[in-house]
């Protein structure tokens, strides 16, 4: 073994000598092409460093993050005694690290678990309606409360629309007035106009003061006439949009 290594060493030193002799000539001949392929030590180190990613938190402490024995040749061979086997820390062998995915409906939200279920934990007190809803609208981005009920410095995500509270401010006389106005001239007193005037929703106006069947039919006919003027492309696009909207409800 020692003889073989000494012969390789001599062969290597002779090769190095020849290299040092021939190096200046080759460098002089093809300067630009060779220089583009030279990889300096610093570049390799930087690249290795750049490629070295930290393991995910769930992998730390597992077998894949422990340095392997091949990189450290000086480590003693593992002893076969039972005491030593128990002394080595047992590493977790099953890593549960699922990819990020949409939440599944199989996991019931905490608020929806009935108190009779053994998995029940008391939900946040902010989710339970203790009194009748007040006229003040809830905050758009409330602070998250801690366990004791004190606000923390974290906030809930912003709401899509400004939260509002139902005011129930219309009296019977107001409703009668809405009905009278709508019946007097539905062309002028549309749902939108009445809703703006009385500070309620268009849905509420449509609920308390519906128009007559004749007017509904006339409005439908008007809309059909407009649809009749649609071209092929628009009609197809509108149909597709309706279909896609229906598919939202199926949530496939």
């Amino acid at each position: 073994m020692a003889a073989a290594s000494s012969t390789t060493m001599t062969a290597l030193s002779s090769a190095l000598q020849s290299l040092t002799v021939t190096l200046p000539r080759t460098r002089r001949r093809t300067t630009t092409t060779i220089l583009t392929h030279i990889r300096h030590e610093s570049t390799t180190r930087r690249m290795t460093k750049a490629l070295r990613l930290h393991p995910h938190a769930s992998f730390i402490g597992t077998a894949s993050t422990i340095p392997s024995k091949s990189t450290h040749g000086d480590t003693p061979p593992p002893s076969r005694s039972p005491a030593a086997a128990t002394a080595t820390p047992t590493l977790p062998t099953i890593i549960y690290n699922p990819p990020s995915a949409a939440p599944t409906p199989a996991i019931t939200p905490r608020l929806f678990i009935p108190p009779t279920d053994p998995r029940h934990t008391p939900p946040s007190t902010t989710a339970i309606l203790k009194t009748a809803p007040t006229a003040t609208p809830p905050a758009a981005r409330p602070l998250i409360l801690d366990a004791a009920g004190n606000p923390t410095n974290r906030k809930l995500p912003p709401s899509l629309t400004r939260p509002y509270a139902k005011t129930y401010h219309l009296s019977e006389a107001d409703v009668k007035k809405i009905q009278r106005l709508r019946a007097s001239n539905p062309d002028v007193w549309t749902r939108r106009k009445l809703a703006a005037k009385f500070g309620c929703s268009e849905f509420f106006v449509g609920m308390v003061a519906p128009v007559t069947e004749e007017r509904k039919k006339a409005q439908w006919a008007k809309m059909e006439a407009v649809k009749g003027r649609w071209g092929k492309v628009r009609r197809f696009a509108r149909g597709e949009r309706t279909r896609r909207r229906e598919l939202w409800g199926k949530d496939l």
Binding site: T108, S124, I128, P138, L156, P158
Partner: protein, 404 residues
């Protein structure tokens, strides 16, 4: 190897008495049953008391006014297919081959009710409905009624049962007749294009015309589809009327196969040990199939429904909150919206637009409500069928659907 003695088959060959009360003659059912085979003397007394030659002509007058078209020359006990099916289903020896053979004869092939599987499939359908409904109600106590019916259809509807029967390796005869192997499914085939209303649809599944109207995509430029839609209601109405009168003289393969599976379950109840054996058989063959109950939902106004649910249960009004977004001004934005009641998150949805994500989040929350399932260990009501004194923990009972 599992073997069934000849004497057992002869003894359990047919019900002794017809449903209408007339005594049955064995010769009616199996014309060649006793002509060639020599039987041991132990069973001959029973057979003789059943056959009674003096009553034979009278019985023929009563029951066989039309010549028996289906009852084959070969005995069911001689069919290799039937014996193989019996063994494949791991039916006990108590389950006679003749009953399995009778389960393969559809009412459209043989109208006489003591020769076809009509009564067996009725029994089987009731038992299947019992076990499937109790399983679904205990597993998902908050399912809305429409979804519960759809899930029942998914487990014991004729399409599902036909798949079960096909999985058992049952094949259909081209047409019913005396030369057909008793191990083949015999029924009168429905002509292609003829509407057909499945039996037992009253308690199961949706109204087909309703489903047609709801599920048909609104394509307005398909003349063939329009023609089909225009033609459908009249034909379907006639099919419904025929089904209501019980005058369906032909059936598609799916329906006949489903009837066979129902009849097999009925036979298990009658011969193989009653309710306990039936429960094991149904859970092994029917309820062990996978059904994605969360895919059966279709919501029309999910946000309103969730709002009504929160009012009913005394929760804070749900508020949709934008959790993450990317590419708002690009061609393919993605929004992730969570719906919150107070600080409690109820559901999360993602979509290419804010309304879509909001609707998906409301649907996710509603599915979380409807698909609540108690922890395992809740007992099915049928637990007390076998042992009435067994300890029983009742399941969760919900107040009902959300009315919005």
């Amino acid at each position: 190897m599992k073997r069934v003695s000849q004497a057992t088959w002869d003894f359990l060959i047919v019900p002794r008495r017809c449903i209408c009360g007339n005594p049955l003659a064995l010769g009616d059912l199996l014309p060649s049953a006793f002509s060639s085979t020599a039987r041991p003397s132990s069973s001959s007394s029973t057979i003789r008391s059943l056959v009674r030659p003096s009553q034979k002509p009278k019985a023929r007058l009563l029951h066989t006014s039309t010549p028996l078209s289906v009852i084959p020359k070969a005995q069911p006990t001689q069919s290799a297919k039937l014996a193989a099916l019996h063994g494949r289903l791991e039916l006990p020896n108590k389950y006679p081959l003749t009953t399995l053979g009778r389960a393969l004869i559809d009412p459209t092939a043989e109208p006489q009710h003591h020769l076809n599987n009509n009564s067996l499939s009725t029994v089987g359908n009731v038992l299947l409905g019992y076990y499937a409904s109790e399983y679904l109600m205990v597993t998902y106590p908050r399912l809305p009624y429409a979804i519960l019916k759809a899930a029942m259809e998914g487990y014991i509807g004729h399409k599902a049962l036909a798949a079960v029967g096909t999985g058992w390796g049952v094949e259909a005869a081209f047409a019913p007749g005396t030369t057909v192997d008793p191990g083949l499914l015999q029924f009168n085939r429905l002509a292609p294009g003829t509407p057909w209303v499945p039996p037992y649809a009253g308690g199961l599944g949706f109204n087909p015309p309703m489903r047609q109207r709801k599920m048909m995509p609104p394509f307005e430029h398909n003349p063939s589809l329009e023609k089909q839609m225009a033609a459908e209601p009249e034909a379907m109405r006639r099919a419904w009327a025929a089904a209501a009168r019980g005058k369906q003289d032909a059936i598609p393969l799916e329906g006949a196969m489903a009837n066979f599976v129902r009849a097999t379950v009925g036979g298990v109840y009658l011969h193989a040990g009653g309710l306990l054996a039936t429960k094991e058989f149904v859970s092994a063959h029917i309820l062990s199939r996978k059904l994605d109950v969360d895919k059966l939902f279709q919501f029309e106004q999910p946000t309103r429904e969730l709002s009504r649910l929160c009012v009913r249960e005394g929760f804070q009004q749900p508020i949709a909150r934008l959790e993450k977004e990317t590419g708002r001004y690009s061609r393919h934005p993605v929004f992730i919206v969570g719906v919150y009641s107070g600080e409690e998150k109820l559901g999360e949805g993602q979509g290419g637009s804010l309304p879509e994500a909001k609707i998906k989040a409301a649907i996710s929350a509603l599915k979380g409500w409807y698909l609540y399932s108690p922890v395992t260990g809740v007992d099915l009501p049928s637990k007390t069928d076998a042992e009435p004194d067994a300890p029983f923990s009742p399941s969760f009972i919900d107040v009902g659907d959300v009315v919005s």
